[in-house]
């Protein structure tokens, strides 16, 4: 067969240009860089400074190619990472052009003259672009016979990142990342010539939540991780793709491990979600899974001694089943799965509650929550997904305007923050309904483009608790911006603090046409809603009160009709209150830390009062201390499953470390149910995923969204202020235990207040203030910032500032504020005596129930808070 010579060439598509690379014709979109066009064709041009997510720099000159434009060869080789394609261009890379090859070899030799022979001890050795390209394009022998430049090494850039300036090829990837992507210019180029180096600012805190990314994008071993340093070599690591378990951003990640132990985690590449980035928490916080206090065997409370003792699975499951059956048949059992479960595990909890315990008393929301929120979730959130009309990361990036309400993106969902910043760098106006110009607000509001701020969003300040009212009466500027097609309103989980805020958001969306995105903090929250772990929802968004929906589930679960409970159950607060008052007999608790709950004291009372408590946990908590049976469960790295991120996007992951013998919650619940003569068929996450798939989502009508009138913020009386609070990304969370390097980049704990409030209460920056409420007090350093008067901001769970546990009140509450009289260290203002057993306040109960010997490891805040109450 002969092929007819191709005579007619297809027309160039609109917006494309046609060029020739290494003799092959290709169409490329206008504005594409030569290096990317070549890459799409499979022609790899070596490079160091080029990175697809950073602005071009043209610094390393490694990617030189020969270029012909309009039939005329350009006299000099051109950097393909800075030059865009043009019609009729002819590009010759190192494969076809001796000149380009020579140029690249020359650059490689120059890069190596000052590079130390550190490869054997360098963490990058074995996965180093410089090493690889030197072997590919470099000379076998160096002609450099003189003295290399030397620097002292290594120097810490942050507590997590070490810099070896000798190895640096000055590609500026890290500094560009810091400036452009993260917006934390914690590093910058200093000096000039051969002495040019990366350095830290003298008067900058050097703090960034994203500094770990610089390690990953460094094309040499100049930036290395303090925690991973010298721990292993890439050729002895197994890399497994995974999903980050820390927050609802849903980052894809790569876990590198050997000998059954995770050595490091890296950001995975997922252009639709985290691009190539992750936050330091996702990167560095993984050692909780190998902490020494992790449960490996089931524990059963010994009848005679009252202490927990190790038991066999058979005994523990038997005991648990018996206890639960008794409690169920007495006054019932409440189920608290916690917000960190996978969707599969959540489904198992949901099924267990309904089938084995016959109750709708189940709520995964181990945080502030409200009925209004539940209505909002059932009407507006459940069932949304990227392919079902949900807001996505791409929608945020392309939105003309975004308004964040009760949501601090950098602290609560760092990848959402990065996307918002990326959007703001392009064209998006980002508004924040909040209290102060936090770093995260600053970095998304006034974003410097190439030559200064081009456009900006704004902080719309409102008193804490007044967010709902503020949404109803937005400034005209923000209101108009939100009326543009594609605008998005992002609501955080903290919205549950403010009565009427969910309703106000729905009203605003109706009024302006903006779409609503709900971003919770924990990774499991979104999937748990789909899996039906709320008192009003069955799996797939089916309402408990909808008989048709119940019938669906009954059929799928092989139940007789009307076997499912048909009345909405109690929510977390309700379950705890009912248990504390004796209306419920037992509790089945998953990963719930009572100190995260809005009323930790109530949780402790409930645990104390319950007749029978089963805890599925990894490591000791307040719940396990009180539990009758503790069943150990697997950490994320040892199980498979799915997280739904805030978009509703399924983030599936497989087992990373096999054969450790640890079991996922769904397997434990399945076996426990068998002991109770119930078959859940949730032996493996895969089986559950299959069942979820078959079940599908409910196609019936969604309930109406809530319409609660907006309540105004409370009016502080004399000596009082309004409390604003939210979690910081790096805080006292137990998943960050035993990570001292990570903790080093946590933001300092400070109480923020306005200048006028500070003056009124006689507080200066740096002085300590005491914030008091019914539950107790918190004493931290004060910092004066620009924020509404008569408001104090505290981090929810950082250092000594444990708002839920110590104060027992939340965002928008009225609290007492007092400046600390300068006093000798250790002395702090008087507060209710925590040791009195009759004191109902949180600290007292906690003191009573938590033997100090079994406190969780790394609970560093403990001593501070005790100090403040002394």
């Amino acid at each position: 067969m002969t092929v007819a010579p191709e005579t007619d060439t297809p027309p160039v598509p609109e917006g494309y240009v046609r060029l020739t690379v290494d003799g092959r014709r290709i169409d490329a979109p206008k504005g594409e860089l030569i290096i990317r066009t070549a890459e799409r064709m499979g022609v790899v041009i070596p490079r160091f400074c080029d990175h697809p997510l950073l602005d071009p720099a043209g610094a390393c000159r490694q990617c030189l190619v020969e270029v012909e434009v309009n039939g005329k060869a350009m006299p000099k080789p051109q950097a393909s990472c800075t030059m865009t394609v043009a019609d009729g261009m002819v590009v010759r890379t190192q494969h076809t052009s001796p000149a380009a090859d020579k140029a690249q070899q020359g650059i490689m030799e120059l890069l190596l003259i000052n590079h130390p022979l550190d490869c054997p001890i360098c963490d990058k050795g074995g996965e180093c672009p410089l090493q690889n390209q030197a072997l590919k394009h470099g000379r076998s022998e160096s002609r450099f016979r003189d003295t290399k430049r030397t620097f002292a090494k290594p120097i810490p850039i942050t507590s997590q990142v070490l810099l070896d300036r000798e190895r640096c090829v000055l590609c500026q990837r890290c500094t560009r990342f810091a400036k452009q992507v993260a917006g934390d210019p914690f590093i910058e180029m200093l000096e000039r010539g051969a002495l040019q180096q990366v350095g830290t600012a003298e008067h900058h805190s050097g703090q960034s939540y994203f500094s770990g990314n610089t390690i990953q994008i460094c094309p040499v071993g100049a930036l290395t991780s303090t925690a991973y340093r010298f721990r292993s070599r890439p050729f002895d690591l197994v890399s497994t793709p995974g999903v980050c378990e820390h927050c609802a951003s849903g980052c894809s990640q790569r876990t590198d491990w050997r000998r059954g132990k995770v050595m490091r985690r890296l950001a995975g590449e997922d252009p639709e979600v985290n691009e190539e980035w992750n936050c330091d928490k996702g990167r560095f916080a993984f050692r909780y899974a190998t902490a020494t206090d992790r449960f490996t065997r089931p524990l059963v409370r010994d009848r005679s001694s009252g202490e927990l003792r190790e038991a066999s699975w058979t005994e523990a499951l038997r005991t648990a089943a018996d206890g639960l059956v008794t409690a169920r048949d007495a006054r019932g059992v409440g189920v608290l799965p916690g917000g960190r479960v996978t969707m599969e595990d959540a489904y198992a909890y949901s099924k267990f509650a309904r089938m084995a315990l016959g109750t709708n008393d189940i709520d995964h929301r181990a945080r502030v929550h409200s009925d209004e929120e539940l209505e909002f979730l059932s009407s507006t959130v459940v069932g949304t997904a990227p392919d079902a009309g949900g807001v996505t990361y791409a929608d945020l990036e392309n939105a003309p305007a975004v308004l964040c309400a009760a949501f601090e993106p950098e602290e609560e969902s760092p990848i959402v923050f990065l996307r918002l910043r990326k959007a703001a760098r392009k064209h998006t106006r980002v508004f924040h309904l909040g209290q102060w110009n936090s770093p995260g607000v600053e970095k998304t509001v006034a974003v410097a483009g190439a030559g200064g701020p081009l456009h900006s969003g704004d902080l719309l300040p409102c008193p804490p608790g007044g967010e709902a009212a503020a949404l109803d009466e937005l400034p005209a500027e923000a209101d108009e911006a939100l009326r543009q097609p594609g605008a998005v309103l992002v609501l955080g989980e903290r919205a549950a603090h403010v009565t009427g805020l969910h309703s106000a958001a729905v009203r605003l969306a109706r009024r302006t046409g903006a779409r609503i995105a709900w971003v919770p903090r924990r990774a499991g929250e979104r999937g748990a809603i789909e899996a039906g772990t709320t008192p009003t929802l069955l799996p797939g968004g089916r309402m408990v009160t909808d008989s048709r929906a119940r019938a669906d589930i009954e059929r799928a679960w092989g139940l007789k009709p009307t076997m499912l409970p048909d009345t909405p159950g109690r929510d977390t607060g309700g379950i705890l209150a009912a248990t504390a008052s004796g209306e419920l007999s037992g509790l089945l608790v998953g990963g719930v830390d009572p100190d995260d709950l809005p009323d930790p004291a109530l949780a402790r009372r409930a645990l104390e009062r319950a007749d029978f408590v089963v805890s599925l946990e990894m490591r000791p908590t307040v719940a396990t201390e009180r539990a009758d049976v503790v069943l150990p469960i697997a950490p994320t790295v040892e199980k498979s499953g799915t997280f739904l991120n805030w978009e509703g996007r399924a983030r599936e992951f497989a087992v990373t470390i096999e054969s450790t013998g640890s079991l996922p919650d769904c397997r434990v619940l399945d076996t426990l149910a068998v002991e109770m003569d119930v078959d859940l068929f949730t032996q493996t996450p895969a089986a559950v995923a299959g069942e979820l798939e078959r079940l599908g989502s409910h196609d019936g009508r969604r309930p109406q969204p809530p319409d609660v009138p907006a309540s105004p913020a409370a009016e502080p009386g004399p000596g009082q202020v309004l409390l604003a609070t939210w979690h910081q990304l790096l805080d006292n969370g137990s998943l960050q235990d035993s990570e001292p390097h990570l903790a080093g980049t946590a933001r300092p704990t400070a109480a923020r207040l306005s200048a006028r409030t500070a003056q009124e209460f006689g507080v200066r920056t740096g002085q300590h203030v005491t914030v008091g409420a019914a539950g107790g007090t918190v004493t931290v350093e004060a910092e004066v910032v620009d924020m509404p008067d008569r408001t104090v901001w505290l981090p929810t769970n950082s250092g000594p500032s444990k708002v839920d546990r110590e104060l027992g009140v939340g965002h928008g509450a009225l609290v007492d504020l007092a400046a600390d009289v300068p006093a000798p260290p250790g002395a702090a203002p008087a507060s209710p005596d925590p040791s009195r057993p009759d004191n109902p306040a949180g600290p007292a109960v906690q003191e009573g129930t938590a033997p100090t010997g079994s406190r969780r490891a790394g609970d560093s805040g403990g001593s501070h808070s005790e100090g403040s109450r002394a």
Binding site: G58, A59, I107, D146, R192, G193, A194, G449
Partner: protein, 441 residues
Amino acid sequence: MTDAANPPEGTNPLTPVLTRRWLSPRSWTLHTYEQLEGYSALRTALSAHPDQLIELVKAAGLRGRGGAGFPAGVKWGFMPKEPSKPHYLVINADEGEPGTCKDVPLMMADPHSLIEGCVIAAYAMRAHHCMIYVRGEALHCVRRLHQAVREAYESGYLGRDILGSGFDLDVVVHAGAGAYICGEETALLDSLEGKRGQPRLKPPFPAQAGLYACPTTVNNVETIASVPYVVNGGSDWFRTMGREKSPGPKIYSLSGHVENPGQYEAPLGTTLRELLELAGGMKDGVPLKFWTPGGSSTPLLTADHLDVPLDFEGATEAGTMLGTTALMIFNETVSVPWAVMKWTQFYEHESCGKCTPCREGCFWLAQVLERMVDGRGTEEDIDTLLDVCDNILGRSFCALGDGAVSPITSGIKYFRDEFLALCERNRSTETADTALVGAAR
């Protein structure tokens, strides 16, 4: 022709232009300037349409005096006509090229000609802000400029509604911190913005996004100072001087082994032979060995090139560049490798560090040359030098790298023997080694 310091007598076929006021008493004052036709061009210019001025400069063929020789009128024409953003005029007075000494004397002796040129150019480009970026070391010069700007403001040549024309212009004199790279126009803009001076990626060119991402034109001092004369004299008059493609007068700065070093104004295209006559010949009659036509970044020339016409085309034909017309004259007592080493050390010190070839290359070249001058070089090193130069030339981000290799490649081209002589001592061991190729050393 004239020389500021030592006016030659009787050899003057041409009225000096740029330097005509330099010898007047207190030439830097507004009073002197006004008496000698000062600010007369400004009145003419302000009555014309801005586009007419651009056309005039184009017709005069005024080429940039900073080294590259880009036609000034064309450059001005790149500025957008409708000012949606502020326009900026930036004067590059960061004279740092080794051997160059023309802008500083001009600003010292006749700062008002620069200021008048600034106003005319800014008017033509619809700019209301003009920055003069002066080398920080030239402290005296900075003071004179400040004084001149103050005088100009007081007399209504700057500020609001200049001479009743309705045109506003503010001039800021900015003292740089003395980095050679800040003479590169985009690095200068970065430095002016308060950042580290490092060249920017082009495109966007300054005319689209320069200072503070606004349309900007960067011109050399001498270019702008020539503008009032073009306006007063007209393009035809301007073209009577110099050559077809490089018209106009030029200040040549002669330094080194000449009897009377200094600034000599002459039409473009004047040869070194003529300039040497003006400067009184070689010092003490020691013969010329080599010279640079426009600072150390331009390939050096030898005594064979005495009759090369020093304009943009003539220099290019001779295999070099006109540069800043900084003629450094060396007699036979000077070792070429030594001079090349000193220049290379300068480039090593002044490389900004942004791109690999210039940063690492200059570092390497300087070490090899230092070693050679110290008598520890080998013949192999000469090849290495040339190959490294080849790897820098045309590969670096800005022209600094290209300039850095010029003295080395041209030095070896014309004076290879001198480099070889330095390696003589190590020749014997070299051959011994060659005989034992493959053997462990």
